[in-house]
């Protein structure tokens, strides 16, 4: 089990590790943005920029200096917490991130709840009925869902559930008729709930259902697959036989001896999926006009807006690192035999 005495040094080691990874990622993206591109000043200023604008941009971001001077300015501004301003909107990038990130978090958390329910549930049933027709049907279902490109799921959902059968709205986070609500956490549904604004809460939830469900259906396959194979790994193992032999009820054997052991491996995958989803919502956000990180980053990528892109990539990387860390902590909580930092294989 995790005691605070073991936990704090471990946390320290992981924070240092995460720091190293973040610096590495920042260096790599710096390399891509400043050195790989043939004419960064021209790209940053935009396709139709005049010569003087290009010169201005080059001066502002030190693009005419040698690369090590650029690297110095880059690291210096990031180390002092200065992420700069968005050249396209003129707003501070930090405030833009604070607006877009919670929206993505809202989508991803809702989606994760659905993914865990679907993936663990169907994977369990599939594994326990190995070889049966139910198993085959479930496998075909999750493998087909997993094989679908995002745009197929997203566009079909819009077409069927908001065009043919107008059940759900096809875009946005809330109804136009509801005025803006005060932001506390930034997560719309949560804010509405905290302020007891029933109308906004229901509208937010209503707009959330379709994109979250589509994303969950497209992504639950990997969890179902891991769950199924972990069930297959445990259900014939000797400790389960021993549990049956000593006369435990079947329900208890399944709950405590099969399900619990199978969840140990699945939990790592759940965390990995969470980290992946933060940056994996890009197509769904585009289709459903969801003002989140994916939408924001895509806009930055298409206009090759590096001052915005770099912090976005760092936020996503941080998400992956935190998710992996959570997986390792859960790992040792679920499996008392494993000390912190030994298991999971998601050390980073």
């Amino acid at each position: 089990m995790v005691s605070l005495r073991d936990f704090l040094p471990y946390l320290g080691r992981r924070i240092i590790g995460a720091f190293v990874v973040l610096i590495g990622v920042a260096l790599i993206i710096f390399f891509i943005s400043h050195i790989l591109s043939p004419d960064p000043a021209h790209l940053w200023a935009g396709a139709r920029a005049s010569k003087s604008t290009i010169a201005q941009v080059a001066a502002l971001y030190h693009l005419n200096q040698p690369w090590y001077v650029q690297l110095y300015y880059f690291l210096k501004s990031y180390a002092t917490g200065n992420f700069g301003t968005d050249p396209q909107t003129g707003r501070s990038i930090l405030s833009e991130l604070a607006f877009y990130f919670p929206n993505t978090l809202e989508l991803v958390i809702t989606c994760m709840i659905l993914i865990v329910a679907l993936g663990v549930g169907l994977g369990y049933i599939s594994g326990m009925r190995f070889g049966s027709n139910t198993d085959k049907a479930i496998r075909i279902f999750y493998l087909s869902c997993w094989s679908s490109p995002y745009y197929l799921g997203g566009l079909l959902a819009v077409l069927v559930f908001s065009s043919y059968i107008p059940l759900f709205p096809s875009s946005g986070m809330t109804s136009q008729t509801i005025g803006p609500i005060t932001s506390i956490t930034g997560i719309y549904v949560l804010d509405a709930l905290l302020q007891l604004n029933g109308q906004a809460f229901l509208s937010g939830l209503y707009h959330l259902i379709l994109p979250a469900t589509v994303l969950a259906l497209l992504e639950f396959g990997i969890i179902a697959r891991i769950m199924r194979s972990s069930i297959l790994d445990t259900r014939w193992s000797t400790h389960v036989k021993a549990a049956r032999a000593k006369g435990l009820e079947e329900g208890e054997v399944r709950r405590n001896h099969i399900l619990r052991n199978a969840l140990i491996d699945t939990n790592t995958m759940i965390a990995v999926t969470f980290g992946f989803l933060l940056s994996g919502t890009i197509v769904i956000e585009e289709i459903f006009a969801w003002p989140g990180m994916g939408y924001f980053t895509y806009k930055a990528i298409v206009s090759v807006n590096y001052p915005v892109l770099i912090p976005c990539v760092l936020v996503f990387t941080l998400g992956v690192v935190v998710a992996n860390f959570a997986a390792d902590v859960f790992y040792s909580l679920l499996d008392p035999r494993i000390a912190l930092g030994e298991g999971g294989g998601s050390e980073s």
Partner: protein, 307 residues
């Protein structure tokens, strides 16, 4: 070796899912090769030729999958896209697997600082948001198929290093490797004779499924209009070009997207099938289809008699 191949073949063909995967993958590979070799002569129509009298025609005998806004035959356009949509993912996965085998073997055999360096680097690339990074690299390098391939490979190799390193570490602990070392075998000899043959199956399984994943990412790049040159044949870009036309003619997005889905499913079913065939613990349960384990165990007990 041949006995092993036969039993793997029997296991694949005994499982409907992996059989579906095998048939689909072979079909599309043959179609791709046919398209490349015949340089487009197998197509029913010229895919680049607009025909405005036939625009937005629904699927029919003349146009099996209908025509698009410009009246171009969808089937011909899809087949034209196959070399891109299957070739690039295959190439990406082969290159990534090669990088993985080289770096993973080096890390596992030499350990020490080299291992530390390679694995730190791998971890760094693993923490990357995959889709965002390939989008960013492709957008930076500018639209061309070569640049798209580069952008995919940059984010694609890290899992292979981890996979190979883990597998080689397991092999390196075996007695036959220590004996080989004691006999003064060269590093390359041990790698060639002991490490690679033992690592290859797991890499192969992972890579098979991975071709599908690479196709998903590639066609998403196409859908987002990043990296793939405009108006070049690519299934994701084909979907995105439909635009608002899809409310009126949904088949124009559904058909190419379902093609992507079927190809991806083919590769992942095949990979999944091979994985289960190679898993010794599951082998008996696959060979006796439609029987629960209890029935199988009962049958086995019956066969061998009371102990």
């Amino acid at each position: 070796m041949s006995a092993g191949v036969t039993s793997v073949r029997r296991l694949i063909t005994s499982n409907a899912l992996s059989m579906f995967g095998l048939v689909t993958v072979s079909f599309f590979l043959i179609l791709t090769v046919g398209q490349v070799v015949s340089s487009g002569r197998i197509l029913p129509y010229n895919p680049y030729q607009p025909n405005f009298l036939q625009s937005n025609a629904s699927p029919s005998i003349a146009h099996l999958f209908g025509t698009d806004l410009l009246g171009r035959d969808m089937l011909s356009w899809i087949i034209t896209a196959l070399p891109t949509d299957i070739g690039i993912p295959l190439f990406t996965v082969v290159v990534s697997a090669t990088i993985g085998i080289v770096l993973g073997t080096l890390a596992a055999f030499f350990r020490g600082w080299l291992d530390e360096f390679i694995m730190r680097l791998t971890d760094m690339f693993m923490a990357f948001p995959q889709m965002i990074m390939s989008l960013a690299i492709a957008a930076t390098l500018g639209p061309s198929l070569v640049n798209v391939t580069i952008s995919l490979i940059v984010v694609w190799w890290p899992p292979y290093v981890r996979l190979v390193r883990g597998a080689v570490l397991e092999v390196a602990a075996e007695d036959f490797v220590s004996i080989s070392k004691a006999l003064n075998s060269s590093f390359f000899y041990i790698v060639r004779k002991d490490a690679i043959p033992n690592v290859l199956p797991s890499v192969l399984v992972y890579a098979t499924t991975d071709v599908g994943t690479a196709l998903l990412t590639l066609s998403t790049l196409g859908f987002l209009n990043v990296g793939i040159p405009p108006a070049s044949p690519e299934l994701g870009m084909m979907v995105s070009n439909v635009g608002y036309n899809f409310y009126l003619y949904p088949y124009q997005i559904v058909i190419p997207a379902v093609f992507v889905m079927v190809i991806v499913a083919g590769f992942s079913f095949l990979g999944e099938g091979i994985r289960e065939s190679l898993d010794v613990r599951l082998r008996p349960h696959i060979l006796i289809r439609n029987k629960t384990v209890e029935e199988y165990e009962a049958a086995e007990r019956h066969k061998s008699g009371p102990i």
